[in-house]
């Protein structure tokens, strides 16, 4: 979006620009007494909303129409306050002037109104300039939870210029590494069987082929896993987001979503994910300018469920 500053239009790049926009608006709303100013940023929707509680000074006839140079609003609304009845036609979009607020269309009985303007967030760096977010890369071996934090970088200007600021649905993506947990549970005999099976398919040497075929048959009898691809599918099922959710617990923040993910550093893999990308969410306010969250991976439950997929007798020692 853009608005005028000293006659030049410029774009919103950070919260400071929103504050300036507020000041600009305050200057224009001379016919009104601004009672409250708040901003709600919704990160997941990619929007910010300016809300102003306004007391109308009917006597100032010169300022009955206010031009607000906001050109990309998604939704604007004026409601009476405190009854919250929408006042239709009191604010309209205009190609030349942005938004036009007309006092003529506001009933005489409405002394207090709530002006609300919703706009798209300008770019992804907007949030980065406002808030510092961190998620843990990987925990220690004996730990199965990942920490996350969010904190405002600057508070002073925000507190001075706004009555409230809410940042809603701040996303955190944590990469939960599961490859080691899967590998540790897969019976070594099955790995051997897969290895011999793969070699059997690749070799052209007849003698070698016969020997590998016998080995494969012997291993298949030992593992009792005839359909290897079905076993792979069962493991895949455990990592489907709907199932994997059961192995997650979020403290402090809210669970939002998870998806299978892989390492870009390795040969592309489509069978089983090496990690799960888990998204959690939190809100920040001026009253709570920093928050912490914890994502717990229920490793033992996951490993036990994986363990139960294999025929009895083939299993490694069960995890307690």
């Amino acid at each position: 979006m853009s608005f005028e500053k000293d006659g030049i239009k410029f774009g919103i790049k950070d919260i400071g620009d929103i504050i300036e926009l507020w000041d600009k608006l305050t200057g224009r709303l001379k016919a009104f007494n601004i009672l409250s100013k708040s901003v709600i940023i919704n990160v997941s929707q990619g929007t910010y909303e300016l809300n102003a509680g306004i007391e109308i000074h009917r006597g100032m006839l010169f300022f009955r129409v206010v031009k607000i140079p906001i050109f990309n609003s998604i939704k604007t609304q004026i409601t009476t306050f405190p009854s919250f009845k929408p006042i239709d036609g009191s604010i309209i979009k205009d190609d030349v002037d942005g938004l036009i607020l007309s006092l003529d269309n506001i009933p005489e009985s409405a002394n207090n109104i709530l002006l609300s303007i919703r706009c798209p967030l300008p770019n992804t760096q907007f949030i980065e300039r406002l808030i510092h977010q961190t998620t843990q890369t990987e925990p220690k071996k004996d730990v199965t939870s990942y920490w996350m934090t969010a904190q405002f970088k600057h508070l002073e200007m925000l507190r001075k210029k706004m009555d409230s600021l809410n940042v809603d649905d701040l996303d955190f993506a944590v990469r939960v590494h599961i490859q080691q947990n899967i590998k540790d549970i897969i019976p070594p005999l099955l790995i051997k069987q897969l290895d011999v099976g793969t070699k059997l398919l690749q070799t052209r040497d007849r003698v070698q082929k016969q020997r590998l075929a016998l080995d494969h048959l012997r291993l298949t009898k030992s593992t009792n896993i005839i359909k290897e691809d079905e076993m792979i599918e069962k493991i895949q099922d455990l990592t489907k987001p709907k199932n994997f959710e059961n192995y997650l617990e979020v403290l402090g923040y809210r669970y939002y979503d998870c998806m299978q993910s892989g390492s870009l550093f390795h040969i592309p893999n489509f069978t089983i994910p090496t990690m799960m990308r888990v998204v959690t969410r939190t809100n920040l306010t001026l009253e709570d300018p920093a928050t912490k969250g914890e994502l717990r991976f229920k490793k033992k439950t996951f490993e036990n469920d994986l363990f139960d997929l294999f025929p009895k007798g083939l299993k490694k020692k069960k995890k307690s």
Partner: protein
């Protein structure tokens, strides 16, 4: 309680940025002293103006916070010689010379570390198999993940090669990935440089031995991770491109072979092998293999490579063996 919250993570990878914050209410103080740990630098401080704090040795002195009730801190840690370090962060709210509120939190900073346990002078291959006792024994004695790439030394008589079917698969995957990426790129105006980064990461093989490349990789990868975390649509589109590129080239490599690679590419104690399916050709003639082990952690920190002493390899017949077969990661001799 005047202090509502004091946060410092209890564990983190060495080299990671460590966030910390304190929230308080109704504290009558005139100065805050923070004693930070040795192996870190203060990278950023939130809600304190530049002129209102100073750092001397390991003490951060805060004379005034911008809005009372909150301080945010960000520390930059370095990879150290120690595998695990326990450090404490002390915070004192001072009134004159008296500390009216003391806070302490402890953090363990860990790192992965490879230790060579045994390198045999001779490895004997029998019908493509190597006895476990005859393998190179290496162990990750640290806590984080080791990401390893094997390379042959120039003087090595035996050379490492990527199997043709894997090579074809990767080439096919890269081609499709680039094409599919092109199709979605028009949806994301202004993110052209991000798509360049995706192309770079997809088309260049990750190599911890190349310091310049590693740095470039790290920068681009961090940027991509950040943008994917912030942009859910982009993250989902990229995942679709990734899956599509794999499935269009699936005929070159079987599901079982992929699963086997999945299993072989992770070894005990968080050891990730990036080229585990690379092979060496062995035959009846006894020849030397000189291997270099290049590795990094999940933050792509530069770590000195390990160069193994020359190993004689002999086989009862001519065959190709995958590199992972030469190693045992159990930590036993």
């Amino acid at each position: 309680m005047p202090v509502k919250s004091f946060f410092l993570p209890d564990n983190a990878l060495q080299g990671e940025e460590i966030p910390s914050y304190i929230l308080w209410k109704n504290l009558d103080y005139d100065k805050i002293l923070i004693k930070k740990f040795n192996c870190c630098d203060l990278k950023d401080i939130f809600n304190v103006n530049k002129e209102d704090y100073s750092v001397s040795d390991n003490i951060i002195t805060i004379n005034k916070v911008a809005v009372d009730g909150y301080i945010g801190l960000l520390f930059k840690t370095e990879r150290t010689k120690e595998i695990n370090i326990k450090e404490k962060l002390h915070v004192n709210f001072m009134k004159g010379e008296i500390s009216i509120c003391d806070l302490v939190a402890e953090i363990t900073l860990f790192k992965p570390e490879l230790e060579i346990i045994k390198v045999p002078e001779v490895i004997t291959v029998n019908n493509g198999m190597i006895d476990n006792k005859n393998k190179i024994s290496i162990s990750n004695i640290g806590d984080g993940t080791c990401r390893i790439v094997f390379k042959d030394k120039k003087e090595s008589e035996i050379k490492l090669t990527q199997p043709k079917r894997i090579k074809d698969f990767i080439e096919g995957y890269q081609k499709t990935f680039n094409e599919e990426l092109e199709l979605i790129s028009s949806k994301y105006v202004g993110l052209e440089s991000i798509f360049e980064d995706f192309r770079f990461i997809t088309n260049k093989f990750f190599d911890p031995s190349d310091e310049v490349l590693l740095k470039e990789y790290k920068e681009k990868y961090d940027r991509l991770e950040k943008i994917m975390d912030q942009n859910e649509d982009l993250a989902k589109d990229i995942l679709r491109v990734y899956v599509s590129a794999i499935f269009k080239n699936i005929h070159m490599i079987t599901v079982i072979e992929q699963f086997l690679d999945y299993l072989q590419s992770i070894q005990k104690n968080r050891v990730e092998l990036l080229n585990s399916l690379d092979t060496i050709e062995v035959n009846k003639e006894e020849r030397f293999l000189i291997l270099e082990i290049h590795y990094t952690d999940l933050l792509n920190n530069k770590i000195e490579p390990i160069i193994l002493k020359p190993i004689k390899i002999k086989s009862n017949k001519e065959t190709d063996i995958s590199i992972y077969n030469l190693f045992s990661w159990d930590g036993v001799e």
